[in-house]
Amino acid sequence: MRFNEKELIFLSRQPSERAAELGMRGPKKGDVMKRRLVKLIVNFLFYFRTDEEEPVGALLLEQCRVEREDDMAFSIAFLDEAERKYLFECDSQEQCLEWIDAIIKASYEFMRKNLIFYRSEIHRLTGKDPLEQYGISDETRFQ
């Protein structure tokens, strides 16, 4: 599948929601834990070798499951291949929980669900559809 790599690399250089050096292990048998600079930007998780400017790779964070694996570790698995887990090791429990929280909330789907909920609550409380003033109340993604 083709993707616009250059633009994705450019995105990886933008200010991040969260960034830290973590231990990271890929999902394949034989993958080992490596130190990576991990950056959360919009719904992507970029990971870099600690001394390099261009990312080794990116994970799109849609349709994924984040799980606490240990005191200080969490995993990301994608729903289409749930047994393959990317493992991340943090330096503290607090950091681990913060990353889990941030990643869960980093998906477009998550935002969409929030938006739908807020919309219906506002409508329930005020009788008005808050999306009408923006002219977007009919868009399918907000139903």
């Binding site: 599948m1 083709r2 993707f3 616009n4 790599e5 250059k6 633009e7 994705l8 690399i9 450019f10 995105l11 200010p15 991040s16 929601e17 960034a19 919009v42 719904n43 261009e54 990312p55 790779g57 990116a58 994970l59 799109l60 964070l61 849609e62 349709q63 994924c64 499951r65 984040v66 799980e67 606490r68 994608f78 729903l79 289409d80 291949e81 929280d101 869960i104 909330k105 980093a106 477009y108 789907e109 998550f110 935002m111 969409r112 669900k113 929030n114 938006l115 909920f117 807020y118 609550e121 506002i122 409380l125 005020t126 808050p130 923006y134 002219g135 977007i136 399918t140 993604r141 139903q143």
Partner: protein, 279 residues
């Protein structure tokens, strides 16, 4: 160094979880827009008809409408969409990026209406747009809830304001006033109880977390009458104050929530003017 190694160093491609990205394209999450578009080829200049699926900030393109896998995807973050004159195609528009040596993706719709609809949808496909919208609605909801609560207080002058004496139907969290700045820590403690969380699938939350954790917003959830199928999703992330993350978030550098909120409010107001003008 042997030639094969040299070559692979120069051609190093960034990894992407491609299989899962392709799965996202075809999974049952609702697309924002679908339709046929003519897309100018990557290598040759001819236009190919492609079935296009816009989901969030990703534009997938398939060979056929029923193809199981996309030919490719354009990540739309940081792009601008513009109309363009094309010699061979009417109703043409382009997706352009800011970075050096970036590609320009040329597309064409079947008619004027379709073109305008796609241009509108693609310009609003960035994460930031959605995030702004969510925050704006979050703010409106908080306002509406405060109005509702003060109405309640007015209607029950004899009861204390702290406990709504309506038989436990609603569960206010804390009513010490308008939103306190959340720190995220109450959530963390409760999050540790949850073995796994999925973000694209149906959201099952234990009741403990859905009560407006730590936000102090006086949120009133209706515990009954809605059934189990509707649980309020957790509050979207707030910006960390400086020192809480290694880099500045994608927003003006400010740790003050009200300033940040005003900034977003301005952005939304500007967006609104833009849309009204575009109607």
């Amino acid at each position: 160094m042997p030639p094969s190694l040299r070559r692979s160093a120069a051609l190093r491609v960034m990894k992407l979880n491609e299989r899962s990205v392709a799965h996202y394209a075809t999974c049952n999450s609702p697309p924002d827009k679908t339709g046929f578009l003519w897309k100018k080829g990557e290598r040759n200049p001819t236009y190919h008809r492609r079935w296009c699926v816009l989901k969030g900030n990703m534009l997938f393109y398939f060979e056929e409408r029923d193809s199981r896998e996309p030919v490719g995807v354009i990540v739309l973050e940081g792009c601008t969409v513009e109309l363009c004159d094309s010699e061979s195609e009417e109703f043409a528009f382009a997706i352009r990026f800011d970075c050096a040596r970036a590609r320009i993706y040329k597309l064409a719709a079947e008619n004027q209406v379709a073109m305008e609809s796609w241009v509108k949808a693609l310009s609003r496909a960035t994460f930031d747009y959605m995030r702004l919208l969510v925050r704006e609605l979050e703010r409106q909801l908080e306002e509406a809830q405060q109005v509702a609560l003060s109405q309640q207080a007015k209607n029950k002058p004899k009861k204390s304001q702290v406990q709504g004496g309506n038989g436990g139907r609603s569960k206010p969290t804390s009513l010490q006033g308008p939103l306190t700045q959340p720190t995220g820590s109450p959530e963390e403690g409760l999050l540790s109880l949850i073995p796994g969380k999925e973000n694209g699938v149906s959201w099952n939350k234990p009741a403990g977390l859905s009560n407006g954790v730590g936000e102090g917003s006086g949120v009133v959830w209706e515990a009954e009458g809605r059934g189990d199928s509707v649980r309020p999703p957790p509050i979207p992330p707030r910006r960390k104050t400086p020192g809480g993350s290694l880099e500045d978030p994608v927003s003006p550098g400010t740790g003050c929530f009200s300033k940040l909120h005003d900034w977003y409010g301005k952005e939304v107001a500007e967006l609104r003017v833009e849309w009204l003008q575009g109607q």
